[in-house]
C-alpha cells in the first residue's frame, strides 16, 4: 500500500522518457523523485492548461463499478496501476490509434508531439504533459483536424473523461507528496491563533500591512506543498514578531491609559457652538446620520500605543415604519477594517450606549461613522449641510430634513441620532501582561543570568515548537541572548530578541513531520498532537495534549478518542466550524465582485456577512447537535438572522444573532445548496451563472470536477433590442450547440440550471429579469436530468436525488475532511482508508462527529 510508482531520474521527466516498466520503490527512497516531479513540472503543467484538480477518489463510474476498493489486499486491486493500464489498452488506446497515431506516433511527430509513447498510468510522473496537451486539443475541437475522419461525440466524450480523470489523479498525487521530512507552513489564520495562545495578544494579520492571503488548492488553504514562503513573508514575520512581543512584554513602564471623545456638539463648531453654549443647549445637540452618509462623518482616533481599546457610543436608532433598523458602523479607513457594526433600535428619547473592544495599531486613524443600510441616494453626502442649524430632535423639521421625515416627524429612512463616541486604552488584563509573567516566570526576584535565560527560552520555545528542544537548539538561542547583550540590550530586551528568533524560526512557522535519524511511517506523539490541534483548533496543542504526547499515550485509541471529543467541545473548535466549511465550500469567493448596486439595491455588507454566517453556523450546528451530514444536502431548518430572513422572505426572525429556524417547503430553502452564500459565490454580481453553479456542485458536493473548458469560448450572445428576451438557459443552450461542448455540459449544466429560481444574490424568483431584448421576462425552467437518466423538476427535486445518493456524498465529504486534516491531496493509495472511514461513519448514520472521530482514529490520520 505504501508503494507508489515513480520516475527514475529528472532527465526522464524532462525528456519525457519513461522506464518501460514502472519501478516500484519503497517510500523512503522515492520521496525525492516525487518531489522533483512536483516542482519541475509545475510550470509545464500551467502552460498546457490542465485544470487543477480534485482528488482522484471519486472520479470514475467505471472504477466504482469495479468496487474493488473493498477487497483489502496487499497486492494490486482492480483500481491499481495494472487494472488501470488494462483499461487503457481496451477502452482508450483504440481511439488514439485510429485518430492520432498517424501524425503523432512512431512515424510522424507533427508539431514535435507524440502521443503513442505517453504513459498509460496516472501514477507515472510526467503523465500530465502529453495528456494535458491532448486534452486541450480534444476539448477545443481542434484535433483531429477538420479534414480528417472525425470521432463521434460519444467517443470523444469518453476519451476526454478518461484523460481528465487520470489528470486529476495525477495531480492529487503530486499534492500528496510526502518527503522524508515534511514542512507544512502555518496558514495566516493558524499563525494568528498560535500567537494568541502563546502571547495573549492579537496580531492584525488581515489588515493591509498584515500577512498575505494564503494560496489555495480546491478552496483549501492549508495544503503543504501549495503554501509558499518568500522574502516578503520573512519580513512580515519579523515585523509581526516585533509587534506582538512589544505588546506582550512589559519592557517599558505601563503605558498611560489614553482617552478620547467625539461629541455631536463638535459638529456645531465655531461661533454657532459658542452661541449654543451661551444658551446652555450645546449638550442637547445630536448628530443625525442617514444612510449613505459615506465618507463625510468621521472621527480621528489617535493611538500612541497599540493594544486593546474600549469604545462606548451613545445613540438612538430610529426604524422607519415597515423598514429596517439603522446600522451603526465604524470603519477605519487607513487600515481598511470595520471596527464595529450593529443594528440599533431605540426611541429617540431613550438612547442606548453600545460598548465594544477592538485592537488598534499605532497611528492617527480616520474612522468613518456610517449608517450602513442602503438609502435614498447613492451619492455620499453629509447628514446635514454644514453650518446650518444643528440637529436637536426629529420633531424640529427644517427644510432640508423634510426629505427624511414624514409629517409626524417619523423617519422615512433608518436614522441614527448620535450623541457621543468615547474610547480608552490600551487596556491590559494585568501589568505586567500575563504573557510577560509566564515568560519571565521567576518574577522580579530571579537572578538575571544566562542560566535563567536558558530556562526561559527552553520553556517558551518548547511551547512554540510544540515539542521539547534539543540542546544545540537552545544553545543557539542563548548565544543570541549573549550577542544582543553585547549590542547593548538589557536582560529583558535580549530575551525579547531571542523570542523574536523563535517566532521566525522554521520550527514555529512550519509543522514539521518526520525524522531522518529515526524514520517511521507513524507520527510521533508530538507530531500527532500538532496535527490534531491544527485540525480542530487551528492553533497550538494545549498543555494537556503536549503532556499526553510526552507520556507517549496520545496515540492510544482510548486516549485519542477522548481527546477528540474533548477538543470538539472546546470553544476553540469554533475554528474548525468556521474554517473547514469556508475552505471546502470556497466561501472566500462570496462577494468577490460586489453585486451591482442598480440591480441589487438592497445588497449590503450586513447581508453578505449574514450569508456567510448562515453557512458556517449551519455547519457548526450540525457539529454541536451531532447531526448527520445528510443535513448538508437537505434540511427542514437553517440558521437565520433578521436580515437574512428578510432576504429569504421568512418571517418571525428578529435580531442580529443567527438562530435555528424551522423551514416550510414554500420557503424554498434547506441544506447548503440553496443558501444565499453558495448561490452568490457562483454568480458574478450581475447575473446567476448556471455553468459555474453546476461546476461548483460537481467540485464540492459530488467530488468529481469537470474537465477544464477549452480556451477561447466565444462570449454568450445578447439579444438585440428587437429580438425577444431570452432566459440565460435558452442562451446557453443555443451557445452549446457544438457537440464537443455538449458532451461535458450535459453533466455540468443541469446541476446549475436546477438553481435558476435563485438570482445572483440567492433571492427566490419565478421569472428571470432580462435586460437585453424586447417583450416579457421569460419564465424559469429549473428542470433537468442527471447523466444516469433520473429526472428532477427543480432544486428541491435535485436535493432529493442527492439525498438518495448519500453514500457518494459521504465519500466525497470524507475526502474533503481528510484533505483539510492532513494538509495534502488524497490519492489512489488513500482510497481504501477513506472508504473505511466513510463506512464507520455510515454505521452511525453519517453523523459528522462520528466521521471526524473515525478519521482521527484511522491509520490514515496517524501515519506520515
Amino acid at each position: 500500500m505504501e508503494t507508489r510508482p515513480t520516475l527514475r531520474t529528472i532527465e526522464d521527466l524532462i525528456a519525457n522518457r519513461h522506464p518501460a516498466s514502472v519501478c516500484l520503490d519503497t517510500r523512503n527512497s522515492t520521496g525525492d523523485a516525487r518531489r522533483i516531479g512536483a516542482n519541475s513540472t509545475g510550470f509545464l503543467l500551467r502552460m498546457i492548461h490542465v485544470r487543477h484538480i480534485e482528488n482522484c477518489c471519486f472520479i470514475r463510474a467505471a472504477l466504482f463499478a469495479a468496487a474493488a476498493f473493498f477487497c483489502a489486499a496487499r497486492a494490486e486491486d482492480k483500481s491499481g496501476p495494472a487494472a488501470r493500464t488494462a483499461e487503457f489498452d481496451t477502452a482508450i488506446k483504440p481511439f488514439f490509434a485510429q485518430h492520432c497515431y498517424g501524425c503523432h506516433g512512431e512515424k510522424k511527430q507533427k508539431g514535435k508531439f507524440r502521443i503513442d509513447t505517453a504513459p498509460k498510468d496516472a501514477d507515472s510522473a510526467g503523465f500530465e504533459i502529453p495528456w494535458g496537451m491532448a486534452l486541450e486539443r480534444l476539448t477545443a475541437g481542434e484535433m483531429p483536424p477538420e479534414d480528417e475522419p472525425q470521432p463521434t461525440a460519444k467517443e470523444r466524450e469518453k476519451v476526454i473523461e478518461w484523460i481528465s480523470a487520470q489528470l486529476q489523479a495525477n495531480e492529487a498525487r503530486r499534492y500528496a507528496t510526502t518527503e522524508r521530512v515534511s514542512f507544512r507552513k502555518l496558514t495566516r489564520e493558524e499563525y494568528v491563533n498560535s500567537i494568541r495562545d502563546l502571547l495573549g495578544v492579537t496580531y492584525d494579520a488581515y489588515d493591509p500591512t498584515g500577512l498575505p492571503e494564503d494560496p489555495e488548492w480546491q478552496g483549501f488553504e492549508r495544503i503543504g506543498s501549495v503554501l509558499t514562503l518568500s522574502p516578503t513573508h520573512v519580513e512580515k514575520y519579523l515585523a509581526a514578531a516585533e509587534k506582538v512581543l512589544s505588546e506582550a512584554l512589559a519592557l517599558k513602564p505601563q503605558p498611560k491609559r489614553d482617552t478620547g471623545k467625539w461629541t455631536a456638539a463638535q459638529s456645531a463648531g465655531g461661533d454657532l457652538g459658542k452661541e449654543l453654549a451661551r444658551k446652555g443647549i450645546l449638550d442637547k445637540v445630536r448628530k443625525d446620520i442617514v444612510p449613505n452618509n459615506g465618507q463625510l462623518d468621521g472621527v480621528s482616533v489617535n493611538v500612541a500605543v497599540a493594544g486593546e481599546y474600549i469604545f462606548h457610543a451613545k445613540m438612538s436608532g430610529l426604524r422607519p415604519p415597515g423598514g429596517r433598523a439603522p446600522r451603526f458602523k465604524l470603519y477605519a479607513t487607513d487600515f481598511s477594517r470595520t471596527l464595529f457594526e450593529q443594528d440599533v433600535e431605540t426611541a429617540e428619547d431613550a438612547p442606548v450606549t453600545l460598548e465594544f473592544r477592538t485592537h488598534l495599531p499605532v497611528g492617527g486613524h480616520h474612522v468613518l461613522i456610517c449608517n450602513a443600510v442602503p438609502g435614498p441616494d447613492s451619492q455620499n453626502r453629509p447628514s446635514r449641510p454644514l453650518g446650518t442649524r444643528p440637529f436637536f430632535t426629529m420633531k424640529d423639521r427644517v427644510a432640508w430634513q423634510i426629505k427624511l421625515t414624514d409629517d409626524d416627524g417619523k423617519p422615512i429612512w433608518p436614522t441614527i441620532l448620535l450623541d457621543t463616541i468615547e474610547w480608552e486604552g490600551p487596556v491590559y488584563e494585568s501589568w505586567p501582561p500575563p504573557a510577560h509573567q509566564r515568560i519571565f516566570f521567576g518574577g522580579e526576584s530571579a537572578t538575571k543570568d544566562i542560566a535563567y535565560a536558558r530556562e526561559i527560552l527552553t520553556r517558551f520555545a518548547a511551547r512554540a515548537y510544540r515539542r521539547p528542544l534539543e540542546s544545540p537548539e537552545i544553545d543557539r538561542l542563548v548565544a543570541l541572548v549573549e550577542k544582543a547583550q553585547k549590542l547593548g540590550d538589557n536582560f529583558e530586551s535580549s530575551i525579547k530578541t531571542a523570542l523574536l528568533a523563535v517566532l521566525c524560526s522554521n520550527n514555529f512557522l512550519y509543522l514539521i513531520e518526520g525524522n531522518i535519524a529515526k524514520p517511521s511511517p507513524r507520527l510521533t506523539d508530538f507530531e500527532l498532537a500538532s496535527r490534531l490541534s491544527y485540525f480542530i483548533w487551528s492553533t497550538l496543542p494545549d498543555e494537556r495534549l503536549i503532556d499526553l504526547a510526552a507520556q507517549g499515550k496520545l496515540h492510544e485509541s482510548g486516549t485519542l478518542g477522548g481527546e477528540i471529543r474533548r477538543m470538539l467541545k472546546d470553544p476553540k473548535a469554533l475554528a474548525f466550524s468556521e474554517s473547514f466549511p469556508r475552505q471546502w465550500l470556497q466561501l472566500r469567493n462570496v462577494g468577490m465582485f460586489a453585486p451591482d448596486k442598480k440591480l441589487f439595491p438592497d445588497y449590503d455588507d450586513y447581508l453578505e456577512k449574514s450569508m456567510i454566517a448562515e453557512t458556517t453556523s449551519f455547519f457548526r450546528e450540525v457539529v454541536l447537535r451531532n447531526q448527520s451530514i445528510r443535513e448538508f444536502l437537505d434540511s427542514d431548518w437553517t440558521m437565520l438572522n433578521e436580515r437574512l430572513a428578510g432576504h429569504y422572505g421568512v418571517t418571525g426572525v428578529s435580531g442580529e444573532a443567527l438562530q435555528r429556524t424551522v423551514l416550510k417547503p414554500g420557503d424554498h430553502r434547506g441544506g447548503l445548496l440553496t443558501q444565499a452564500s453558495i448561490l452568490s459565490l457562483t454568480s458574478d454580481g450581475t447575473r446567476h451563472r448556471p455553468v459555474h453553479r453546476g461546476k461548483w456542485v460537481l467540485e464540492a458536493i459530488v467530488g468529481k470536477p469537470p474537465p477544464p473548458p477549452p480556451p477561447n469560448v466565444p462570449a454568450i450572445k445578447t439579444s438585440t433590442p428587437t429580438e425577444p428576451k431570452l432566459s440565460l438557459r435558452a442562451k446557453i443552450e443555443a451557445h452549446r450547440s457544438d457537440a464537443n461542448c455538449a458532451a461535458c455540459h450535459r453533466k455540468i449544466d443541469p446541476l446549475g440550471l436546477a438553481f435558476d429560481n435563485y438570482d445572483a444574490i440567492g433571492h427566490w424568483r419565478e421569472e428571470e429579469a432580462v435586460g437585453d431584448g424586447a417583450g416579457k421576462n421569460p419564465k424559469l425552467d429549473p428542470s433537468g436530468e442527471l447523466p444516469d437518466g433520473r429526472k428532477f423538476a427543480d432544486a428541491a427535486g435535485l436535493k432529493k436525488l442527492m439525498v438518495a445518493d448519500l453514500d457518494k456524498f459521504a465519500n466525497a465529504f470524507t475526502e474533503k475532511l481528510a484533505t483539510y486534516a492532513l494538509r495534502r491531496g488524497m490519492t489512489f493509495a488513500d482510497r481504501l482508508a477513506l472508504n473505511e472511514i466513510a463506512a464507520k461513519g455510515k454505521a452511525q448514520d453519517y453523523k459528522l462527529t462520528a466521521l471526524i472521530e473515525a478519521l482521527v482514529l484511522s491509520d490514515l490520520f496517524q501515519r506520515r
Binding site: R51, I223, S230, H233, A501, F593, A715
Partner: protein, 460 residues
C-alpha cells in the same frame, strides 16, 4: 518644489553588494559616493506600469487606421497631443490569460497560467520585478507598488501588479500620504537607532538561518524544497537589511510634501488619480526608484466617477449586457481615465531630468488584462506604450495585429467588438513580446519573457 537632479542621488553599490554573500561588514561608504563622471554612470532607465480593470468599451476605443497619421478614437482623444510620444496597440493578448476571467489582473505583468475557478494558485515573477533586480542597485527603493487598494488583495483578485521571484504578491500602498512618508519621511528614531535595530535583526536572521542550516545538513542533499525556500528567503532579507543599512547615511532629498499630506478622497476620482500620478513623477524625478507599478483599479474595485455622473464601478459597467446606456457610461469612464493618464504622460514630458524630458528615459505601459468585460474576454487588449525615446523606442503609430486578419475597415459595432475580443486574430501578437521589449530596454539580459516570441520590431 525644489529641483532635485537625478545624478545627485545616483549611487553605485554593485561593488558593495557583491561582497555581501560572505560577510556583513559595515558599508563601504566611499564606494557609494555619487559618481560625478557622466561617462561612468549609466543613465537611468525607468519603467512604469499602469493597470485599468475590466477592459474598455472597444467601440469607442478602437482606432481605425493602422500605422502613422491615424485618427484618435473618442476614448483615446485625450492623448492626441502626445501622439509622437506613444504607440497604441491593437490585438495583443496573453495566451495564458485567455479564458481566465478576472485572474487577468494577477497575470498582467507575469503572463502566468493560473486556473480561474479551482486549482492551485501559483504565479510567476512579474516583469517589473525582473527590471527592479537590475535597477535596484542604484536606488533607495528597488521598486514602488501602488494601488487603489492597499495590501495584496486575494489570489485571483489581486490588488498589486508586482510578484516576486517566488510568485508571491508584493503588497501595494494606496494612501498618498503613507507613500510620501515612506519615500521621503525621516528615518524613524535617527540613523544610529536604525542601525542598531538592523544589526539586531541581522543577528536574529543569523540565528534562524543557523537553525535551519543544521536541520538541512541532517537532511542530506535531497528532500528540502520547503526548507530551502525558507532559507533563501531569510538570506534574501539579510541582504535587504544590509542594503537598507548602506542607505542610512545618504540623506533623503528634500521635496515639498504639502500636496500629499492632505486627505485625498477616492470619491474625487480625478483628484485621486492625479495625486498618485504626481507621486510617481516625484519618485522618478528624485530617483528614489526606477520601477513603479500602479494598479489604478482592481478587477473588483474600479472607481466610480461621480464627478462626471458615472456612479457604477467599472466592474458593474463592464457587465453591460449590451445595454447601450451602460456602454455609453463605460466609454465615458474610459475617456476620463485617459484624460488622467494624459496628464501623467504630459507631466513626465515637462519634467526635465539632466537636460532631457523625464519621459525620454521612462517607459510607461498602460492597459488592461481584459478587453470585453461582459464575458471576461481577454483578447485584443487595450494597450498603450509611452515614453522611452532616449532608450530607443520609436513612437507615433497604431500597431494593429488584428490586420490583415480583419479585412476592410472596422465597423466599430457591438458584434465586431465582441468577436475581436473572443479569440486572438494573430496568436503571435503576445503582450509578453512588448514586455520583453521593455525588459531589454531596461538592460535586463534576456531573450524571452514567459511566452514571448520576440521583441516588438515596430517600436525598436
Amino acid at each position: 518644489m525644489s529641483n532635485v537632479l537625478t545624478s545627485r542621488w545616483l549611487l553605485s553599490r554593485r561593488h558593495f553588494l557583491r561582497g555581501l554573500g560572505t560577510t556583513l561588514a559595515l558599508p563601504l561608504l566611499n564606494a557609494m559616493a555619487p559618481i560625478s563622471s557622466a561617462a561612468e554612470a549609466a543613465k537611468p532607465r525607468r519603467s512604469v506600469f499602469v493597470y485599468i480593470p475590466n477592459g474598455v468599451n472597444g467601440m469607442a476605443w478602437q482606432i481605425k487606421k493602422p500605422g502613422r497619421g491615424y485618427e484618435f478614437s473618442p476614448s483615446l482623444k485625450p492623448l492626441e497631443k502626445l501622439r509622437d510620444e506613444l504607440t497604441v496597440f491593437s490585438g495583443l493578448h496573453h495566451p495564458n490569460a485567455l479564458g481566465q476571467n478576472h485572474v487577468c489582473a494577477d497575470t498582467w505583468l507575469t503572463g502566468a497560467r493560473i486556473e480561474a475557478a479551482s486549482g492551485v494558485y501559483r504565479n510567476n515573477v512579474s516583469c517589473d520585478q525582473l527590471m527592479a533586480e537590475t535597477t535596484s542597485q542604484d536606488t533607495r527603493f528597488s521598486s514602488l507598488e501602488l494601488s487603489i487598494s492597499g495590501g495584496t488583495g486575494s489570489p485571483k483578485n489581486s490588488c498589486t501588479l508586482a510578484f516576486s521571484r517566488d510568485g508571491v504578491p508584493l503588497p501595494a500602498e494606496e494612501n498618498p500620504r503613507n507613500i510620501f512618508e515612506r519615500l521621503f519621511g525621516e528615518v524613524k528614531g535617527g540613523v544610529a537607532a536604525q542601525r542598531t535595530a538592523l544589526n539586531k535583526t541581522r543577528s536574529v536572521l543569523d540565528t534562524i538561518l543557523d537553525e535551519a542550516r543544521s536541520l538541512r545538513l541532517s537532511l542530506g542533499t535531497e528532500d528540502r524544497t520547503k526548507l530551502d525556500e525558507y532559507m533563501h528567503s531569510v538570506r534574501d532579507v539579510e541582504q535587504r537589511s544590509a542594503r537598507l543599512d548602506s542607505w542610512l547615511d545618504v540623506p533623503k532629498p528634500k521635496v515639498d510634501g504639502a500636496p500629499f499630506q492632505r486627505s485625498v478622497s477616492k470619491t474625487q476620482a480625478g483628484d485621486y488619480f492625479r495625486t498618485m500620478y504626481d507621486l510617481i513623477v516625484l519618485a522618478l524625478r528624485t530617483d528614489m526608484t526606477r520601477v513603479v507599478t500602479y494598479m489604478s483599479g482592481t478587477e473588483g474595485n474600479g472607481l466610480a466617477i461621480p464627478e462626471i455622473g458615472v456612479t457604477q464601478t467599472r466592474h458593474q459597467l463592464s457587465h453591460h449586457n449590451g445595454d447601450p446606456e451602460v456602454l455609453a457610461r463605460l466609454a465615458k469612464s474610459d475617456a476620463f481615465i485617459m484624460q488622467q493618464f494624459a496628464y501623467f504622460v504630459d507631466k513626465l514630458k515637462t519634467e526635465m531630468d539632466g537636460g532631457e524630458p523625464l519621459l525620454d528615459r521612462t517607459m510607461v505601459l498602460f492597459g488592461s488584462g481584459m478587453s470585453y468585460g461582459h464575458s471576461h474576454s481577454n483578447s485584443n487588449l487595450p494597450i498603450v506604450l509611452a515614453g522611452g525615446k532616449a532608450l530607443g523606442l520609436k513612437h507615433g503609430a497604431h500597431i494593429d495585429y488584428n490586420k490583415p486578419h480583419v479585412t476592410g475597415e472596422y465597423k466599430l459595432d457591438y458584434e465586431e467588438w465582441r468577436n475581436l475580443c473572443g479569440k486572438p486574430k494573430d496568436e503571435r501578437a503576445r503582450l509578453s513580446n512588448l514586455m520583453l521589449t521593455m525588459l531589454q530596454k531596461m538592460d535586463v539580459k534576456t531573450e524571452k519573457f514567459v511566452d514571448s516570441v520576440g521583441a516588438v520590431s515596430e517600436v525598436v
